[in-house]
Symmetry: C2
Subunit: 575 residues, 2 copies
Amino acid sequence: MSDRIFRVNMTDLSTRTEDIPDRWAGLGGRGLTSHVVAEEVPPVCHPLGPDNRLVFAPGLLSGTAAANSGRLSCGAKSPLTGTIKESNAGGMAAQMLARLGCRALIIEGKPEGDTWYCLHFSREGIEIREETELAGKGNFAVVETVAERLGKHLGVITIGQAGEMLLLAANISVKDPEGKLRSHGRGGLGAVMGSKRLKFIAIDASGCSVDLADPDCFREASRAFAKALVENPISQALGKYGTNILVNIVNEAGALPTRNFQSGQFEDHEKISGETMHDMIRERGGRVKHNCHPGCVIQCSQVFNDRKGKYLTSGFEYESIWAMGADCCVADLDLIAEADHVMDDIGIDTIETSVAFGVAMEAGGLEFGDGKGMLRILKEDVAKGTPLGRIIGCGAGHTGRAFGVTRVPVVKNQAIPAYDPRSVKGIGITYATSTMGADHTIGYTIATNLLNSGGHVDPLSKEGQVELSRNLQIATAAVDSTGMCIFVAFAGLDDEKCLPALVDMINARFGTALTLDDVMGLGRRILMTERDFNLKAGFTSAHDRLPEFFSKEPLPPHNAIWDFTGEEIDSFWDF
Amino acid sequence: MSDRIFRVNMTDLSTRTEDIPDRWAGLGGRGLTSHVVAEEVPPVCHPLGPDNRLVFAPGLLSGTAAANSGRLSCGAKSPLTGTIKESNAGGMAAQMLARLGCRALIIEGKPEGDTWYCLHFSREGIEIREETELAGKGNFAVVETVAERLGKHLGVITIGQAGEMLLLAANISVKDPEGKLRSHGRGGLGAVMGSKRLKFIAIDASGCSVDLADPDCFREASRAFAKALVENPISQALGKYGTNILVNIVNEAGALPTRNFQSGQFEDHEKISGETMHDMIRERGGRVKHNCHPGCVIQCSQVFNDRKGKYLTSGFEYESIWAMGADCCVADLDLIAEADHVMDDIGIDTIETSVAFGVAMEAGGLEFGDGKGMLRILKEDVAKGTPLGRIIGCGAGHTGRAFGVTRVPVVKNQAIPAYDPRSVKGIGITYATSTMGADHTIGYTIATNLLNSGGHVDPLSKEGQVELSRNLQIATAAVDSTGMCIFVAFAGLDDEKCLPALVDMINARFGTALTLDDVMGLGRRILMTERDFNLKAGFTSAHDRLPEFFSKEPLPPHNAIWDFTGEEIDSFWDF
């Protein structure tokens, strides 16, 4: 089917389709969500009001046979940060939307009243239906019920209770091939979906496929691309240990934020490491490798069972394990896995929520290490929207303000994830300058600072960090537009055949003649578009700063501090 | 005594005094607090961290016999708004500090550990003492205990439980001549004092007085000034009915925000009006007139007793009564008075907290009109710091975020007070452009929009509002530096002898030869200094905007909307 823009207006419950305007030609994924938000959302609007728009866009290569091309971008003005936001997720929705010819799905307006709705998207178009049964239910119930009602082959995009309650850390989840979940985790996009009274979107792409301008060229490029991914040693390690291989690496580097960012090493790191997790999975009959969408050749996901061999969670990421583990000092992978599952079901960002717990622990509301207490609060308070649940569920910054805490690791009100910027200075530049608030994926300098991918930049020195972050942020903005998983970056940085093959696939898909420079130019254009939105929303260089405790408190074991001047940080934008 | 700057460093528990530097000569009150904060506080620092400074400064005429000159300015970076903040209060502290030769008291740093401290300020200097007995106690207990320990004649500046718990709506209270309280209400300055672990400041000015450069000229000017105040009809009405005379006036104008700003008229306005209150006070043996500091000739305060004739509250202001009354639909002055007393004791801003209740009612946590529920939550939750209490106690914006409410009446995160900007457009310009977040006192256009003081500007038209707000904001910044109560403005606007007499008093006090133009120039300088701080803290014209619901929802009965463009608002700064 030829690609179009699909719009759903939740104010008058109407739908329509549009041709893709010339200015959006060549845009997909984050490139498209960010351009739509920048053009159509008033920068100073209330993020939960009718003027905000929730935009889903599969990547340029989603729906094709290209390896790892199943990422779905979701964009809006973030209720957590007030900035523009793109958060991308795996799962099956991107491929299905692309096959339905949907370059972007734009949810506009907001209905009056308390009715919940859902969307049914198929080759016949989009139908808006009232939804009563699933209101108040968790994400797993949504996925199961949609499968019962309409069949297991449908894609599902859903919010849990957190999104319904408009909690600022609410995420949006996407069904994976086995009925489990992947998430648009960061920035509270689940609250935007909740504000539009939309509980879920069911997607039926049966009988549809993506047209290729040059199938032969595509097949050849696709093969070269997949080969580069499969042969990369970091890809292989990710397949074996998952992203959680990072616990020991980051701990060794003294950059594993521990006890609400009071130390860079966690004495119980072995208990929560990827190696330990790998052994537990094998012992309990789980699965070490698992993909979040068909065609992924890295398979960093896994199926983690409990002691009795019963499914507990999947897509069990380093950042989630770090946040509950080292940051809250919970040295028990089973407890962490159960909390991960609960947060997936409630539909709330594991990073933001767990960092909020760390801040609450600092305030004394809960002891560091009290994983059972966390689990109880997740189930009894966050899921039910008690006042305590709403404080925690609105994120680390909100929790810090409620409890008067000054050591609050956020930038633009979004929680800083699993790498301390004092000991890995490149990632600090990314946190500070990101158009999305603190975010590791948007310019993952860990690759070069700690994993020696794309060379090496000393993590403890200021030298070269601004340039490293800038180059990676530009490249990532481009990659986030293709539908590719961020983990293609390792092969992209280290295998000279990888990125040309990626560009060849785009050209073979659309009949274009882009060069790698063109694609990097797209990355620059995306960053500048996002920044322009933020400037109009009232953000300035004063917001491109880390909290003051990073400059005042040396981080053990290196006793490193954050020592960039404002001018040095601001030079990031000298494109 | 010759005037000096007094500094208290709470990090190392040291004190010192300094001569007044030339650049601060001629500054007092808000002029001085804002200059100190702008020069000494890093604009992006954490407001509850060691780099923030809490500055108290009596006005230029405080401590003299000038009528109504007992206002004390308190300044800091606000934890509620993130902007610079000045909040001034009556009570006896300004006059006592001035007599002790204290032009400004600057509290710096922050101690380690959980110890609470207090200051004893006398002609021997400042002593820092540990305080154990009063930690966790309300403001009235502090005032009573200081009187028992040291005598009734001392001045007291104190925080209640809200300030200790660092709640963002916490205020700082000042003892009045009868041991009751006046407050530095807005912007969470009580949390700054709490962050410095300072429970109270006791002030003993016995044996001290202010020197006058020209006592004869001062006496003459002082007489003319007091005459202008006493003869002004609005002053007289304030003395009879208190500020609460405004309920009926503002309701009649259709600008009394009702039911969380859903209407401009409250059907039960008569039950909470100044006229009703006046009759209740007379029936119950209270006092219609009452001053908050010696020398006040307007006496807008009152003593409000309960049904049994027992003291309930004083300083019972229109804005507090509006917030609990019309905004939360509680049509019971006794309940409102009791809640006012409880908030005074806890030490929390009645405007911010009550508007937060209105937002929580909108979210459904409590029914509109449930005054008993409000009272229960104040006593059981806010005073004790439960999660619900911390949500409400951190203000309207925080409450709106916690509960996902979009109709949240705040500017720069500070609650909009008792005049709807759709029906009184001049005050909307003040809310939007104020350097302090939404604030009515900083440019009180109600005087001219509704009370015909200083002419008349049609409240429903955009015509002339920007200029009106600008002129009043400049004049107010100057007046806030003199120690004068804002209510001198009515005589200042309508009696041509009033302001020249004010300038004559300043000249007679200091031996200067200032003109009225010089004093207005000071007002401009103060505003620009405050704005410069805010720009460095990351505020832009995008923050000089009212929430979008004011532009989308017509306000009954006029069905007025907020219709200023961004450019029109920004022209405020064309000085």
